[in-house]
Amino acid sequence: MAVPAPDLVALRELGDRVRPLSAAAERVLPVPAAFADLIPQGGLVRGSTVITGGSAASSLALALAGPVTAAGQWCAVVGVAHLGLLAAAELGVALERTLLIADPGPQEWAGTVAALLDAVEVVVVQPTAPITPTTQRRLIARARDRGSVLLQAGGRSDAWAAQPDLTVDSGPSRWEGVGIGHGRLRARRVRVQVSGRRGAVRPREAELWLPGPEGQIAVAAPTRTAGSVGSVGSVDDRRSRGPATADAPAWRDAG
């Protein structure tokens, strides 16, 4: 019996139309288990913008992008020529599903990022010039439409006209395994603080291994809400630098 050939164009349109009705879990991209408690939605919300900062800014961005690529999705890096790709692989990024775009220059930057937001799930950027409100609105609209995430790996936090949805900041790193003239860098403990505009009014923070002695990303000291009466002894000294707020993390490195 002859079966009519499917009208692929119509099918694709139908697929696009039903997309917003997909399950809630599909609206969130996976993150490493250690971050799940830190981020209110348990993952990167599709269509959102994320910025990392502090002494572990690049590692944080790579760690957040890792599980997405491991799950079979693609990630693209625009510019950021100095991003350590070996570290990316160690932090869980599948390099076979990573596209690297040479710095397109300020004229082409927005167009390049927009084209990639169309195609891949995570676009890693590090804007060198301020982004106008119009451009930012356009990029965010594109990301929402396609369900992709715009992830800034360190760099200037004031490049965006409006604050990103999620800020993942890090305090000073504490390196283990290296001494005075002996040993080598083996593991790092770093305080990570997550704050945002939506759903994360109270910043959450935890001390993470990034990476741990076995290369893993794990929680070194449990999650708590910043500003609450904590009892994690070894980290109390850091909190004395003042309570962090959602809009401006109190400790921020120049790096």
């Binding site: 050939a5 572990a56 860098l185």
Partner: protein, 531 residues
């Protein structure tokens, strides 16, 4: 046994075409490398023990004087165009299967030139002439393109120019060949792998299986391989000549005479053809690329693919062909820019879709990624879009390189992008964890001891004093709380020009920032930062 036989076909096969395409010295040892593996080697390199599939470094160990050339499919195709056009006098039906291999049906030409043997010899002589007579050319004739290809390869092993398998004897000729030779024609590595493990060693074993059983167990790819092993064509029945209105045409104004613009046109036109065929549930196995120039010249070339051509593969072939024409030598080069480009699907089959691997592992590259890559290549240049590949090396920057996306196939599994693909130990490698920031160009820094004097490292790798402060360019010195090293790196000591002698340090400053530093000839550099 059915009465069906394969179309009598002549195949011209140039062994190690990628080497030839790189235009080497005839006697020089040359290897062509893709993803760190040898894909082709010249005669001299083979004589030194280099084999296809070897790692680059292993090949260099066997043959230290070998010249290493990166694989470039575009170059292969460009260089092949003069070969294909040299046979236009013999038959109009020349089909390029891939750069280095072409095929045509012998029925007409064979009668004209007095039999398969004399045709084969004449073709070998003509192609050899087109290549300047410096390289071996092998010609095989048999029932079916696959048999003819294996006949050409048999000619190469026997050291003769031509092998003609008499009509009706293709199955007997194919029988003793190993199962893996099917990979020359169909991309079904999983099926072949299973057959080998089931104890099917030769094509005769495969051909003896009942076709119905093969179909039930291995589906369409299995049947395709089974047909080839039986000496039949891949699909003489399914292929049909489509209605001419499926051809896509584009007028180019202004005419295209530059390769980079040609690439962009190729991509859009190939996408258009692919979409039009897909809407009808068809896929293209043979395409005619036709170009008309401002002066009215018409250039045409057929490309054949044993599987169905994906949009990306189609675009590659169109781009290669335009490259071949536009950069060709005087005789084949058009006298003006191309002002009309037409793609005619010569042979189509029902699109069976691309199945995800039964044995897992295959991932489908989204159409969207193709489109974005093509668009960015057009906007920013082909070199601007790259993918990472892992290489052996010591420093963090040496161990991952950026390879232009045009030189890899995103739809294929790419083990070269996984760090696990490097299994050899590298003495002196900077241990994990790797730094998340690796400077493209190391920046000069100042490292001083507790009394403010610069720290030096002697030829015997002794540190003059413990490093106490680090000053990054334009910053005040910061105190170091921990340091490790020196780790000497003595690279390429056999090559006076590229010899480098360095010592690496890891340092942690008072703010917790960790850096990878190197000292070379008394100067300190920051190579990377663990941020």
């Amino acid at each position: 046994m059915t009465a069906e036989v394969g179309t009598r076909t002549l195949v011209v096969w140039c062994p190690d075409w990628p080497v030839l395409a790189s235009d080497p010295e005839p006697a020089a040892p040359v290897i062509v490398v893709r993803a760190n593996r040898v894909v082709a080697a010249s005669m001299a390199a083979r004589a030194a023990g280099v084999e296809v599939g070897l790692r680059r470094r292993a090949a260099q160990r066997r043959c230290p004087s070998v010249e290493v050339v990166a694989h470039d499919p575009g170059r292969d195709a460009r260089a092949f165009e003069p070969v294909a056009s040299s046979l236009d006098a013999v038959t109009p039906g020349v089909e390029v299967s891939r750069p280095g291999t072409l095929a045509f049906a012998t029925r007409g030409p064979s009668r004209y030139f007095g039999g398969d043997e004399s045709l084969a010899e004449r073709v070998a002589w003509m192609v050899s002439g087109a290549l300047g007579g410096r390289w071996p050319v092998r010609v095989g004739v048999a029932d079916g393109a696959f048999g003819a290809l294996l006949a050409a390869q048999a000619a190469h092993r026997r050291g003769v120019a031509t092998v003609v398998v008499p009509p009706g004897e293709a199955a007997g000729f194919l029988g003793p060949h190993p199962v893996a030779s099917l990979l020359e024609a169909v991309e079904v590595p999983d099926v072949i792998d299973v057959w080998q493990r089931l104890g099917l060693r030769t094509l005769r074993h495969v051909a003896e299986l009942p076709r119905g059983d093969v179909s039930a167990r291995f589906g369409h790819p299995g049947v395709a391989a089974h047909r080839l092993a039986s000496g039949l064509d891949l699909r003489p029945l399914a292929a049909r000549h489509p209605a001419p209105d499926l051809a896509v045409t584009r007028d180019l104004d202004p005419p295209v005479d530059r390769v980079d613009r040609a690439a962009f046109v190729a991509k859009t036109l190939a996408d258009q053809l692919h979409a039009r065929l897909a809407a009808d549930g068809l896929a293209c196995t043979q395409v005619l690329v036709e170009a008309r120039t401002e002066h009215g010249e018409v250039l045409a070339r057929r490309w054949r693919h044993e599987g169905a051509l994906t949009a990306g593969a189609l675009a590659d072939r169109v781009r290669w062909q335009l490259d071949g024409w536009l950069t060709g030598s005087g005789a084949t080069r058009p006298t003006a820019g191309v002002d009309r480009l037409t793609l005619v699907p010569v042979e189509v089959v029902a699109a069976r879709g691309r199945q995800l691997g039964f044995w897992g592992g295959e991932t489908l590259v989204d159409e969207r990624i193709w489109r974005a890559v093509a668009r960015l290549q057009g906007q920013l240049g082909a070199e601007a879009v790259t993918v990472p590949e892992v290489r052996g090396g010591r420093g963090p920057g040496e161990r991952v390189v950026r390879v232009p996306v045009a030189t890899v196939d995103l739809t294929e599994d790419r083990p070269a992008a996984r760090p696990a693909s490097i299994t050899e130990p590298w003495p002196g490698q900077v241990p994990a964890p790797a730094p998340a920031t690796v400077l493209a160009e190391p920046e000069p820094v100042v490292v001083a001891d507790a009394r403010g004097r610069p720290v030096t490292v002697s030829g015997r790798i002794e540190v003059s004093a413990p490093p106490a402060t680090l000053a990054l360019p334009g910053r005040r010195p910061v105190r170091l709380t921990a340091w490790a090293g020196p780790w000497p790196v003595d690279e390429r000591w056999w090559d006076p020009e590229r010899h480098r002698r360095r010592a690496r340090f890891q340092v942690v400053d008072q703010e917790g920032a960790a850096h990878l530093l190197a000292v070379e000839a008394g100067a300190w550099w920051r190579e990377a930062t663990y941020d």
